[in-house]
């Protein structure tokens, strides 16, 4: 009878461990963000080796092509390990290594300006925190906190975009007209150029730019206050909209944030009773 019970238990569908699942989705989307930059890495690898720029502002090692190679591959490898490992120690270690590698990318002469590495860095910080908390016996509370932190980070990133646009050049549409409407090869702008006169395009650019400023401002200030699932859904829609209406290169900036937003979907629908802490669940590598 015991044997039958054991076999039956093995055959039960694998139970999802929400924090592990959320953690792995974020690692996966970090990898999508990193490898969306594959062309950047290949070309940068060649260009930085052949055309070094001596600038005393940066320390030598933060201008070196070797540093950027190690940081990029180190982060990718660490994130990949974090994605597949079931070892708690390895997960923590790889999260820290990923954070360190991406930190280097954020201050290296050849990559500091790329917002991809800033959004990945915030996802890595979230990952480090979560990797150190997974052993808790209060999985629901942990998941609520993880979701809260995720929408706080997304709000901050959107607020960062908004605050720098509270200037007349964005309200008039002048900046985005030059960046996108003049010659950007992307379906929205190709369509608009084919169908509207230059003066009409300026007017469209003005309203396009105002829409960007308003959406970023409202979501930057308010997204973190929404309930988890609503915040996750709205963040996913807004972030996807930014890519669909701007340019494909933003996939690298946005993909990891979409993964981070998904943490909200793992929050239990109903708050657990305060006096019944959930027992610690053994991690299931198949389910997670």
């Amino acid at each position: 009878m015991n044997k039958i019970k054991k076999v039956f238990r093995r055959l039960q569908p694998a139970r999802l461990n929400p924090p592990v699942a959320a953690y792995r989705i974020v690692q996966l989307t970090i990898l999508v963000s990193l490898f969306w930059k594959w062309r950047f890495f290949l070309e940068a690898n060649d260009i930085y080796a052949n055309i070094p720029v001596e600038d005393p502002f940066f320390p030598d090692w933060l201008r070196s092509v070797t540093t950027i190679r190690l940081a990029f591959w180190g982060s990718a490898l660490a994130t990949g390990i974090g994605l597949i490992t079931s070892s708690k120690l390895l997960r923590k270690t790889s999260s820290w290594l990923g954070l360190m590698g991406i930190s280097l990318m954020c201050i290296h002469q050849g990559s500091y300006n790329d917002m991809t590495f800033v959004t990945i860095w915030w996802c890595c910080l979230w990952s480090v925190w979560l990797a150190h908390r997974m052993e808790t016996d209060q999985q629901d509370v942990l998941m609520r906190r993880a979701a809260f932190l995720s929408r706080l980070i997304i709000s901050l990133i959107l607020l960062g975009g908004a605050a720098g646009k509270w200037t007349p050049e964005y309200w008039s549409g002048e900046v985005l007209f030059d960046i996108y409407f003049v010659d950007r090869d992307f379906w929205v702008f190709n369509y608009l150029r084919e169908n509207y006169e230059p003066e009409e395009l300026r007017e469209i650019a003005k309203w396009y730019s105002r829409q960007v400023v308003i959406v970023e401002t409202v979501s930057g200030i308010g997204l973190w206050m929404l309930p988890s699932r609503w915040a996750a859904l709205i963040a996913t829609i807004i972030l996807s909209g930014i890519v669909l209406l701007s340019n494909k290169y933003l996939v690298s900036v946005i993909a990891c944030l979409v993964g981070l937003a998904c943490a909200g979907f793992f929050v239990p629908r109903h708050p657990r009773k305060a006096d019944t802490p959930a027992p610690s669940k053994p991690e299931n590598p198949v389910a997670g």
Binding site: A44, E54, M115, Q138, V141, R144, L152, V175, M225
Partner: protein, 162 residues
Amino acid sequence: MVDSTDTSITHDEQQRDLGFCCIVAFIGMIAVWLLLMPWIPGIAKHSLQRFHLRTPSFSVWAAQFPIPSMYNFANRYKVEQYPPDFVMMILDENWRYANHFPARVITFFAGRYDFLSSKQDRWFTLKSSYRGQILESKFHLEPLEEGGYRLIRIDEVDQTHE
């Protein structure tokens, strides 16, 4: 819309979590910095200098990397084959906008390839503006015999208020 069970900083049943509180406080500090930027010219000036790689110290510049700044400020750049005071003035029609960190046209892979493959001198002018505050920087990229370029900052201070 705020759900106190979701925004669980004060959730009854939670254990103390210093890491969580530190990250929330860190985010709060950056949010305050961003929200004050339009009203405190010093913050905007600091951020404009960050964009032009003109922060007085590299450490201070590097410490700001977590501050998100996607498509911030009106950043224009101009690339010329002759010094800015060359007699044959080139009209200002060469100005283009850059989304953020306009010095990227010198350092980032695509700009570096486009403008610095020729192994000839190049002069870059960057101009960023935010709510009437303008920062202009000029850089001379001098080719080196052994390959690559040396970046020389032509002007150190050129900050005006419109």
